[in-house]
């Protein structure tokens, strides 16, 4: 049991470094066990250093940098152990357009093994998906689903 945990932790750690690099366009990141001798009890420390900045405590990161670091960890876990499907509700809300484009490049790659459902308000995100549905309330209080043709993204 302990051996399996340490092995999968090491895999996630390596994937997290790669994902962080790709999402931030550089920088450094790391995952550490607070108590390596007791892998089944130990907590997990997250270190994140955006490109060009000094390593600080993750509380000093900006709102968008925190969200992007959490996304890097999530995508690392999805790469190591893909789940058949994954539903993400407005994870792009605090990201700027450059970071949304990088995010969507990673999600497209992961979508070979995982079916994704993304809830979003961002036009950048909508441009990068395979299928688009709209939810509206033509009758107030009653939801209707409509399929949106992707040919015309300006609609």
């Amino acid at each position: 049991m302990a051996k399996r945990f340490v092995e999968s932790f090491a895999q996630i750690r390596r994937a997290f470094l790669r994902m962080f690099h790709e999402l931030f366009g550089g920088g450094e990141a790391d995952l550490r066990l607070t108590d390596p001798d007791e892998p089944l009890e130990s907590g997990i420390e997250i270190m994140a250093q955006p490109p060009g900045k000094n390593l600080q405590n993750i509380d000093l990161l900006s709102g968008g940098e925190k969200a992007l670091t959490a996304i890097a960890l999530l995508c690392a876990i999805l790469e190591v152990k893909p789940t058949p499907f994954c539903l993400l509700d407005e994870i792009d809300a605090s990201l700027d357009d450059v970071n949304i484009r990088r995010l969507m490049r990673v999600i497209s790659r992961l979508s070979k093994d995982t079916q994704f459902i993304l809830i979003t308000h961002s036009k950048e995100t909508m441009l990068a998906v395979d299928t688009l549905y709209g939810v509206t309330m033509p009758e107030q209080g009653v939801s209707q689903l409509i399929s949106i043709e992707l040919t015309d993204p300006e609609s």
């Binding site: 932790f9 420390e45 809830i119 939810v135 107030q140 949106i148």
Partner: protein
């Protein structure tokens, strides 16, 4: 193995029978504030066996049933089905499609069905064992909750790593 479609009726703001067909790859769901996007996410969590009403943003199970509007009466039943493709024989059932269904009556009773025949929650949980499908941590990230992966204390972060191991 992938999800072919989600069918719902009487679940939260989805009063009428609604079908969301899913293809491979990435599907985006967009729409105005309050139109029902996160309710779709709740429907998927619920049909997969979510027992906590709080995780579905309510305080009583009955709040999951369409409560009516200024111009429509409320309903007495909520029903959601999630239909999986079984061409690859991933599920040990002799069907090309596997439909998981959950129903809720005003009384608060939940019923579960597997391809139209009644079953227990236990049967559905067994079916999904080892497929990675379930309502847990990293396959659902709720609205405003992406930061929780970081903000938890070091001991609390273990859970997600243990799931992978």
């Amino acid at each position: 193995m992938h999800i072919k479609r989600l069918e719902l009726r009487g679940f939260k703001s989805f009063a009428d029978k609604t079908e969301l067909h899913l293809a491979d790859g990435i599907t985006a769901v967009v729409g105005p504030n309050g139109s029902g996007k996160s309710n779709l996410a709740d429907a998927i969590k619920w049909v997969l066996g979510e027992q906590s009403v709080k995780a579905l943003r309510g305080s009583r199970m009955e709040e999951l049933i369409f409560a009516g509007t200024k111009t429509r009466r409320g309903l007495g039943l909520a029903e959601v089905s999630l239909v999986f493709d079984n061409e690859s024989g991933r599920f040990p059932l002799a069907y090309n499609e596997v439909a998981v269904t959950r129903r809720l009556f005003k009384s608060g009773e939940s019923e579960y069905y597997l391809n139209q025949s009644k079953c227990r929650l236990r049967d559905i949980q067994d079916l999904f064992l080892d497929t990675g499908i379930g309502k847990d941590a990293y396959s659902f990230i709720g609205q405003g909750r992406i930061d929780e992966l970081l903000s938890a204390r070091p001991e609390e972060r273990r859970a997600i790593f243990e799931e992978v191991a």
